[in-house]
Amino acid sequence: MSESAIALYSERGGARGEPWLARVVVIGLTMLFLTVFVVLPLVIVFAQALTHGVGAYLAALAEPEALAAIKLTLAVAAISVGLNLVFGLIAAWAVAKFEFPGKTLLITLIDLPFSVSPVISGLVFVLLFGAQGYFGAWLQSHNIQILFAVPGIALATTFVTFPFVSRALIPLMQEQGTLEEEAALSLGASGLQTFFRVTLPNIKWGVLYGVLLCNARAMGEFGAVSVVSGHIRGETNTMPLLVEILYNEYQFVPAFAVASLLALLALITLIAKTILERHLDEGRQVRDN
């Protein structure tokens, strides 16, 4: 296209022919909405955290309660991401590579944690493991503490974040089919060799993508964890719970300091997600050639 043609083209607002005013209004509204509802809150979190300077910010994070919450959050995320990585891989494998009755039901069940309110998810565990719950008496007699302790928080978080890994993998694995696995088997590879040398390398970006989203949600989970945690200071408070407690006690700088860490996590997740999505697309394009 010559330069004058490009100019003509853009003057008319492209092939769809909408006037430039409509474009400006639509794009402007979108930007305004994004700024007010997404960018502004993010900026405020960091601004509030830093109102009394970097020194106060760092001191707030160095408080024993804050450190304990950070540690607990990291530990819980590690446990639930680990469990969901294994479960997600197995579930995705089952759905994508085998045909069996009840498959549709299974796929629906995998999505259940997304459609249930996190508070309900937490309550389920109270009903199961609480003192009046189904396993409460048995647990008490064996001196096993699940509720108001790390196991309960990890369980609730695992439940809430269950779909991420399998949801990232099922479409990918279904698209890839079973041909490469069959080729590997007929070349004499064992089941494990086939998995580690053929299946896993093909889905590694999908696995990372699922783990990333799973981790972000695990660290940020509030509702389900709030129900099962018991809010014991320095022991069963995760970062989101601590933020709420601090805020309710009018300790704004510490509250926003901890919140800023979660916001930072969100930003890093966003960047990593963009990079991973590019890799996933590339993989898809190579296949299509």
Binding site: L179, E180, E182, A183, A184, L185, S186, L187, G188, A189, S190, Q193, R197, V198, P201, N202, G283, V286, R287, N289
Partner: protein, 345 residues
């Protein structure tokens, strides 16, 4: 390596993919399984490979039961229709895969593996692509790499599922010739699946024609072309002219017109099958005639649509005749099949 299949059955739900298939494959043969889609040919190939299991029947290699062995233990090389190359590995690593996954005790050392891969890439004439990824290759190149990968472990049987199905016509022709000469060179018992009759007749020593889960005919390309055993084979292989006839006491009738040909062993409503180039137009009369509807000439032949009256209905047939005998639209001509087969309905 001989392969013997006995009474193989396989159902997918209510659909019978294979229905009592018996087949013996001789050592060093290059055999084609030919049939339309849904005829069960790919299922049969996958059962030989151990990628599918029959519901009933036996598979034996050199007289030994193969069904108790998994796909990896049968020493079978399988080439998939869509290549199934490992997309995250280089061409070199794809070919080396079968050698690398062997148990440590019988695995070759790295130098021997490299030498073997090099040898195979030379064999398929693609050694210059060793460091590329499958996504960077053309279809024909991928297919040859898939073949090299399958041959790496020195399989006793080579199985190919529609090996040229996804390639364009020119590459397909080249690869056909190449596969034949490769087979002459390495002489491993080979079975390939195809729906393309030309491919089967041109490449294979022996052709197995399948339809609806059953074997219709087994024979050399010449046999299945010239002496089709069933109406299906006659219709599926080569160009056929088909006319509805009726046979009573060995006499053949088309509508109420008797034909001066005989059909022993057949009775009742039947079909007369004639190769398109075997239908002659001329003075010799067997009582079969039709009206020329349309004539087109190209090359050395002219092709004519001729309407034959069979009972109350007209059947339009297409025949090829030499160009020196010009046909005129509208004229009535005598038709005389040089060779024909009659199959009861």
């Amino acid at each position: 390596m001989t392969i013997e299949l006995t009474n193989i059955t396989k159902n997918f739900g209510a659909f019978a993919a294979l229905d009592g298939v018996d087949l013996k494959i001789a050592d060093g043969e290059l055999l084609a399984l030919l049939g339309p889609s849904g005829s069960g040919k790919t299922t049969l190939l996958r059962i030989i490979a151990g990628l599918d299991w029959p519901d009933g029947g036996d598979v034996s290699f050199d007289g030994e039961n193969a069904l108790k062995r998994g796909a990896g233990e049968r020493q079978v090389g399988f080439v998939f229709q869509h290549y199934a190359l490992f997309r995250h590995m280089t061409v070199f690593e794809n070919v080396a895969f079968g050698l690398r996954v062997k148990p440590r005790a019988i695995r070759k050392d790295e130098a021997s593996i490299r030498a073997r891969v090099k040898e195979l890439l030379d064999l398929v004439q693609l050694d210059w692509l060793a460091d590329r990824y499958p996504g960077q290759l053309s279809g024909g190149q991928r297919q040859r790499i898939a073949l090299a990968r399958a041959l790496a472990t020195e399989p006793r049987i080579l199985l190919l599922d529609e090996p040229f199905g996804a390639l364009d016509a020119k590459v397909r022709k080249e690869l056909r010739r190449w596969l034949r000469s490769l087979h002459e060179e390495i002489n491993v018992t080979s079975v390939f699946v195809t729906h393309d009759q030309e491919e089967a007749l041109e490449v294979a020593n022996r052709v197995v024609v399948m339809d609806k889960g059953k074997i219709e005919q087994v024979g050399t390309p010449g046999e299945v072309y010239d002496y089709p055993a069933t109406a299906f084979v006659h219709g599926f292989i080569g160009e056929s002219v088909v006319l509805p006839v009726n046979v009573a006491e060995g006499r053949v009738w088309i509508g109420d017109q008797p034909l001066n040909i005989t059909a022993p062993n057949v009775g009742g409503p039947s079909k007369l099958y004639v190769r398109r180039h075997d239908m002659q137009v001329g003075s010799e009369s067997i009582g079969l005639r039709g009206a020329v509807r349309h004539v087109r000439s190209f090359g050395a032949i002219q092709r004519a649509d001729i309407a034959v009256c069979a009972g109350g209905n007209e059947t339009l047939i297409e025949i090829d005749t030499p160009r020196d005998h010009a046909l005129r639209t509208g004229e009535t001509v005598e038709l005389h099949p040089r060779r024909f087969r009659i199959f009861a309905d």
